[in-house]
Symmetry: C2
């Protein structure tokens, strides 16, 4: 059995209350008693049992984090932000991956609650009405991060996708491109952020008097971008597309792989732009011109807001909209 506060008290010849007081610095203790307690702690190698402490204080110093997949590059960046800031406030992270399953998300939400986490940050890739309802009805602190969908009902940290899209389109147009293709997701829900991005894309196209060329696919991962490559090359021939703006970096990389494998050069033969700035974007050659979604910051801000509430610091209640910016690299060139 591990050494407890009782053992320390006995050795130091004081009561357990006194031991507790020196551990927590909660009340004045005579120098002499403090010395003996400290010495006892030292010789016994005592370490307080946080579980027992939590039971009485109702503070677990735990934040639950449910992610889609910790193996996903952008997710791990978000978690990095959460973890690093949480640490500064002495909070630990309990991590669960839902692997895109809606039921699992809900299950973990409940499970983490039983573990007495003080708040939950959910990094999701889907929109789950059950989760929304559950979270609206429980008073646990909560923060929602979703790269693909807007869920205004839940507290979140959001990005100005409309503006970001505009910036990229302006950049491409500034480079002389007119026939710009936008590779996006299939229409599923009006919560999909692609609806506003598509709208911004179409507005930009119309501003230069061009017809939009939209390609929609269901698989927004790399292989999705790869598989659609053929179709895009066809469109390039048929419509004279000179630039492809991909709604996600993964799509862009997949597409560039297809083009590489088929002897088409980037950016000489065609320009490709991404959205997200995942890790590989700067590693891949040619490096990918893209919009930087600040993943680390998204995690950091999410937990910081949560912690402020938990700690009772004054909270800036407005919705935080993080800046997005254009990262100009090699994959797009003047036409």
């Amino acid at each position: 059995m591990a050494v407890t506060i009782k053992d320390v008290a006995k050795l130091a010849e004081v009561s357990i209350s006194t031991v507790s007081r020196v551990i927590n610095n909660s009340k004045p203790v005579s120098p002499e008693a403090r010395r003996r307690v400290l010495h006892a702690i030292e010789t016994l190698g005592y370490e307080p049992n946080e579980i027992a402490r939590s039971l009485v204080t109702k503070k677990s110093n735990l934040i639950g984090v449910i992610v889609d997949d910790i193996g996903s590059a952008y997710v791990s960046q978000i978690v990095r932000g959460i973890e690093e800031i949480g640490r500064m406030y002495k909070y630990d992270i309990v991590l669960s991956s839902s692997y895109g399953d809606a039921e699992t998300e809900l299950k973990f939400l409940k499970l983490l609650k039983t573990k007495q986490v003080e708040g939950i940050i959910l990094v999701s890739e889907l929109v789950n009405q059950e989760v929304i309802d559950y979270m609206k009805n429980t008073k646990m602190e909560f923060m929602y991060i979703n790269r693909y969908y807007n869920v205004p009902e839940l507290p979140t940290v959001s990005l100005d996708h409309d503006n970001a899209t505009k910036i990229m389109m302006d950049y491409l147009i500034g480079l002389g491109h007119k026939k710009i293709l936008y590779l996006t997701q299939e229409e599923d829900s009006d919560k999909n952020i692609e609806v506003e991005k598509v709208r911004a894309y179409e507005a930009a196209m119309s501003s230069i008097g061009e017809e939009p060329t939209l390609v929609r696919i269901s698989n927004h991962r790399m292989d999705g971008g790869y598989k659609i490559g053929r179709e895009i090359v066809r469109l390039k021939e048929e419509k004279g597309i000179t630039a492809v703006f991909c709604s996600q970096d993964e799509l862009a990389i997949g597409l560039m792989n297809y083009l590489y494998d088929n002897g088409i050069n980037i950016p000489e033969d065609i320009s490709v732009a991404g959205y997200g700035d995942i890790n590989v974007a700067s590693i891949y050659r040619p490096t990918l011109t893209t919009i930087k979604e600040p993943y680390y910051d998204m995690g950091a801000i999410a937990i910081r807001k949560m912690l402020k509430k938990l700690i009772g610091e004054p909270i800036d209640d407005e919705i935080i909209v993080l800046p997005v910016r254009l990262i100009e690299r090699e994959s797009c060139k003047k036409t």
Copy 2:
């Protein structure tokens, strides 16, 4: 205040023990009582407090995981393995990142212990004698995963690097390469796995009657590989190097970036091989021929062994040595 077992007992008009029994299915309960309890749980929305439960059962169902950096690609794969298997046994993961700081590793070790985790998996990139000593003297379950160093004193899941190196060298030699350069780390500790890899490399070179060409660098991340590119090109000219075997994929990718940026084609002008099979290895173009270190499996095996001990299942006590294999891709060609 949250609803407790007492509230349920009162509403169901039974004792709290009965409630406990139905929750845990630990002892027979009359159908009638069970029905009432279940009903009460339902109407009150009762969820057991795992903290309280842990305090008495001494089972937290928590595994502490300390990693170097969750944002690192191979690390997140290991964690994925840990998390996924842990989940199957109803264990949750408490995650901490040490960011390569030895003191932080130790601090987290102690911290997690106070949180009553049942075991700790440490994914480290350094060798920390204090950690070794601490873990040898505490009876907490422990598992050590280190991509760069062997620490035989600690339970671990290891890879057969000697064999892996041999396999790669045989492959390269089979392709007709003779002047093969090995890009490795600076000599620091005899625990560095590079000592056995270098030995295997040298043996292979000597078997074909060639002098080894070793290049050592301190920075084994991507920019390290990039920066050494110039020197490697020089060696290529001077010694007629036709293939570069990099001790880590990161190095290989960095090097390929340098070569790309300087108009040198892979594999036409020079072959490049990696070690690790990190995510980008298959994404980058040309795709990287490499040795697959099974990161996911390493995490999965580590926690599985730990859980077996925790659960008391019979344990196969031998050291598990995971297979490594050659992944033949595009970056190496016949000379």
